[in-house]
Symmetry: C2
Subunit: 567 residues, 2 copies
Amino acid sequence: MSNEESVSVRGETGEARRVLVVGGVAGGASCAARLRRLDESAEVVVFDRGPYVSFANCGLPYYVGNVIADERKLLVASAETFRSRFNVSVHTETEVTALDRKARTLTVRDLRAHTVRQECYDALVLAPGAAPIRPPLPGVDLPGVFAVRSIPDSRRIRAWIAEREARTAVVIGGGFIGLEMVENLIHRKLSVTLLEKLTQVMPPLDPEMAVPVRQHLEDRGVDLHLGDGLARIAQGTGHSLIVVSEGGAELTADMVILAIGVRPETALASEAGLEIGPRGGIVVDDQMRTSDARIWAVGDAVEVRDVVTGQETVLPLAGPANRQGRVAAESIAGRATRFRGVQATAVVGVLGLTAASTGASEKGLRRAGITTFDKVYLHPGHHAGYYPGAQPIRLKLLFSVPDGRILGAQAVGRKGVEKRIDVIATAIQFGGTVHDLAEAELCYAPQFGAAKDPVNLAGMIAANALNGDMPLADWMQLGRTDALLVDVREPEEFAAGHIPRAMNVPLSQLRQRVGELPRDREIWLSCGVGQRAYYATRFLAQNGLRPRNLSGGYTTYQTLRAAGMVS
Amino acid sequence: MSNEESVSVRGETGEARRVLVVGGVAGGASCAARLRRLDESAEVVVFDRGPYVSFANCGLPYYVGNVIADERKLLVASAETFRSRFNVSVHTETEVTALDRKARTLTVRDLRAHTVRQECYDALVLAPGAAPIRPPLPGVDLPGVFAVRSIPDSRRIRAWIAEREARTAVVIGGGFIGLEMVENLIHRKLSVTLLEKLTQVMPPLDPEMAVPVRQHLEDRGVDLHLGDGLARIAQGTGHSLIVVSEGGAELTADMVILAIGVRPETALASEAGLEIGPRGGIVVDDQMRTSDARIWAVGDAVEVRDVVTGQETVLPLAGPANRQGRVAAESIAGRATRFRGVQATAVVGVLGLTAASTGASEKGLRRAGITTFDKVYLHPGHHAGYYPGAQPIRLKLLFSVPDGRILGAQAVGRKGVEKRIDVIATAIQFGGTVHDLAEAELCYAPQFGAAKDPVNLAGMIAANALNGDMPLADWMQLGRTDALLVDVREPEEFAAGHIPRAMNVPLSQLRQRVGELPRDREIWLSCGVGQRAYYATRFLAQNGLRPRNLSGGYTTYQTLRAAGMVS
């Protein structure tokens, strides 16, 4: 990436070195603390534009929601802690305005004293993060329009709610932050409208997997406007604001939250001529070194490699940022630690529902040009069904064909969701296959799981599809196929709702009625969640018929239909 | 294992085959159902001594506790389901009394009709399970003394509690079933005494990791008698029973539960001359085939390989039993699926506390003669500390030295315990190292985890120990070492309790006071949970001193002391 000689700073000189870190949250803070543990002699100085370093920015929505009532809880480590524990100097409310790579200096502005100074470095770490996107639309700077990036941001929102006695809010953007803000504003007793340009919430999920989240929001009274973007915001009567959508909707509210997404803060880097990638992030190698051998960059501002698709991506998540900070520190200290890339493991809790994912989504695979994959759906309980309180998990597993390598998983449910995604994330880390999931040995007692855990089931079902025991039908061809659709549930289940055009042959009668079924056409089988259709598939295949399985059955059909993907 | 020609039954003949399955729970039921899916033409017949097949025996304690109120919930699949869905014949209340391998027949007794018949087989699957151990001691057969293996067992216990208005119980044995029975009897408002021959509860855990479970039981009012075995049971006045311990304690109660453990049911196999292993289980190969090429065995009755220690073991758990049933079915059907062995992943919930483990324990490693390992302790919150409600997890990670391969993990806490064990279990499955755990990318939002998840922390701490950044002190040498013990917590923490002989040098003063510390002696550092001692270790090591870390700090010390392992 760099044509300069790639030397670690330690290698160069026996003298104490000066390491500057721009940005003191997550990646920057991790890097500074780790560096001290590796090198007691280096001078380590951290600059941050805001009043705090090392605060829990993932906690900000919950501070707005008053779930976290005490602001001090958000301060993971204070400037004083950095000084006393780590001998690291922290300069808050200090903005870095310029980087002179040749002179190896930063131009630094003290926002309180209004003074400017130069700071020299032997090694520099850029951890500027990413800024909430504020689209250049009329009204986005009106009072009452907020983003959620810093503790002062959250404090202002809290004050606005309290002082204006806000009753209604429009949240713009249905991703992680948007949904967490919806939850927390509802927790504050506000009525919330959600405006999202895409036709689904939770863009990291595939549309059909986002359906249960959408339905849950609707059930909890959120006024959803999907497939409609922000056009402008106008001042209404009194203190109210009017959000005007691209589709012409006028949504009046006491406050507006902008949660459209974030953009890497690369101004300092790009003005200094550091390489910026096609995704808009700072380009780094696997030791987090930029195109300048004395400059490292970490966190939300950099481009990293997605280990599943092999493509560069920008992924603003705290876990990877922390790991990157450690890797950069080790590189600066002369250790050759490698950042292994990201796999986009993420979770969000929304009003009692949990949605989590790891690896690639189906749309992500298609975007990356990967077509040699297949997928299964299942809807197991989060623990054994015989123990009271089992909650369904809707699970989608994507895997490579024919080798069965796990490519990604998405899960939605009330309980035990993130556990399954964490297990699958771990399997992905090791390049595991669906066969590995099938034989994973996981915790089982009736209140925690099942003898065949949902992860095992996902692996078994996918393995059945791969090895030909259970050929899969393509849900997207449902409206076009000339296959015979057969629903093997019992008549009363069938009567309560079924896939259009399907005929009903209950599994319990299948052995007697097999003669009714054609041998010259494909038979696409479905049931409630997929288990009985699988049994039927095995029976028909062994009798010389041509069955395929509609993975996940009628339950999957309902989400596909709600997502507008089948009719 | 067998000198006979190892042929699959399918390979031999084109005709329909007859497969008999002895035992219709877990492994046997899985095998029968799987076999039907693989081979529609085989005749599959299941025999079970009891009145039910495929019942949820892991749910029995909860049925006693009335947490599962409806007995029918325990019936995963009925004989009728097996017939209608799988075309599998099920004969309940039918005991198999003899096996003639030469004639390929079973002698079968119908326990209702009191008739005996012969049943011939082409392939035979033994899934007899394991029976609760009833030690040959006086009084174990008295009315009111129960084991918990079957639905009728549980029904009898329920009836006894209801009819005798039982108020007190003695549970003998503090393993999984014993503790689940304690929980459920307390749920039924009984006062419970627990008698356990070992000096710890939960034998799969190392003693210090079982301490929090013991303390939790004590806090919940359980009368614990550890290190004391059963001598005899006598009839007391009225309907009461008197449990007399080896130590001479006399424990009066309205009922007694025997939960000492289980023993593989191998009578049929051994009388027929099948090989029985040193652990008392039926010997099988990795396709679950016994020493007779036409006979397979699965479940609690067989010996399996522990993938961590490489040794044979008997592990009565439902998950592996189910997997074994599938493997046996595939072998019978001519597929060469391999059972990968077991890693002893297990979990138990006790009155709101969860204890889980995977892989080898420290004592298990020592038993197996493995000495090239080390271990770390940590006590992280189950989610980010800044979000309300974080509960500590006590975690012990065992790893191979010097390669860092994960050997085992144990965790105890109120929430998120089994999730971390499942993730580590998955890493063990792939032969993962502590470095892999350090860089695992897991779900993080404040209510679910942390930017550095407990699993990451465990890996990081172990990696620090392995690579020399944080040399470990040996807790077991605490009473003998001439090292200087230094506690780096703040004075008020130190004053509230500390390791004997430790001096107090707070981390915040360490850089100033380093001159007070000796350069010619080891310095063993501790703090509350290990983090500050690690920082101190790094500082002192870089200053030429000889620090070691007492892993897990004062929190670990307290459990070790409570376990009698340090003074």
